[in-house]
Symmetry: C2
Subunit: 239 residues, 2 copies
Amino acid sequence: MEIKSYKKDTFYSYTLGAFPTIELLKNHPHHVIKILIHTSFTNKEVINLILSLKGNAEIEYNDKLINKLSPKGNCYIVGVFKKYASSLDSSKDHVVLVNPSDMGNLGTIIRSSLGFGIENIALIRPGVDIFDPKVLRASMGAIFSLNIQYFDTYDDYKKAFPNHIKRTFMLQAKKTLQETKFDKDSLTSLVFGNEATGLDHSLLDENSIIISHSDKIDSLNLPSSLAIALYEFTKQKKI
Amino acid sequence: MEIKSYKKDTFYSYTLGAFPTIELLKNHPHHVIKILIHTSFTNKEVINLILSLKGNAEIEYNDKLINKLSPKGNCYIVGVFKKYASSLDSSKDHVVLVNPSDMGNLGTIIRSSLGFGIENIALIRPGVDIFDPKVLRASMGAIFSLNIQYFDTYDDYKKAFPNHIKRTFMLQAKKTLQETKFDKDSLTSLVFGNEATGLDHSLLDENSIIISHSDKIDSLNLPSSLAIALYEFTKQKKI
């Protein structure tokens, strides 16, 4: 099997670097096809860890292929894996991203979500491809610890999880996050819109929230807003 | 005067796009040298606003130069300005960034700081150049509303502002942000380290803070950490 540079419609993708490859092996060993190791990589501890985790995955020393897959260089370990689907846990809180458009942002958001223990993320199409190597890199492997499920529309998501209270984050909201008391006993969806356009006005309701900020800026950036929301939400849940 | 692509040691820099150029004109009219307008730009409202703000700045229609300065295209307004120095206000709270290394991150942090009303930022060298067009773009013009001052060392900063309580954000800290009560009557510096290396261990003391997160991630990313800290700090200050 010949490994080519990533395209959205291929059945496989790959991690660039030791750290995300180890996260891949720990969380999805059965999806790993092959581990590529650069001949100049000599960290025995890392190699031994990879060998102990690799299961049935093939090991291949192939500098040329690594350089092709990682045009920026400075990459010594690549994990090639079969893309997989996962399903959200209906008994947990969710993050919902409607039409996210930036790969770096999505990776950062995935990392923050795992950091605050929200391990189920819904993505509403159209949106960036979670298996693009740029997203995998920005998430630093966090993506392999989460359930991430795509939905064609926000309505499809709502129908699938009717019991979650949808807290839509919108600049038009009346209630600020600073004054919001989350209901600790309810299941909650923290819902965020596209980087440029936000959420559609039709989603504004009594559960909508704005992170209050000065009118000297248009808005906070999306990963920062998410990080703040995750912080406040999980802080209240734990008390 | 011939305008060339940005270099750190030139005495001028430039904004790319109408929005940051307007912020530049509103906040630093006397530093503006020239406004470049693309001949295909026909938004009269924006052009009239620029003309009303331009002061003594020259207007030049120069598509070739705009294309040279904005290699990614999609830019119709450029504001060329003389770089300037600003000084921190000793009567206000500060954000302190020790050795920030990523231009996009710095722009995002500047935008968040303005959003939460912390309008004085210290940068400890070595660190990225605030006037690099990439930082200006990521800040979306927020940079022009803030005081940003460089210091050669963190000690220099501390000597300049001895009365500020330094709250160093460090993964080794014992106290979590979630449990921190900020002293509303004190001047505070929120201090953050480099993206990869954090703050030096020697800065750990009883005022150090960690944003508590799951051990499934190494750390939150820097702009997300800053956003969370700014949110919590300003929330407490306003109550």
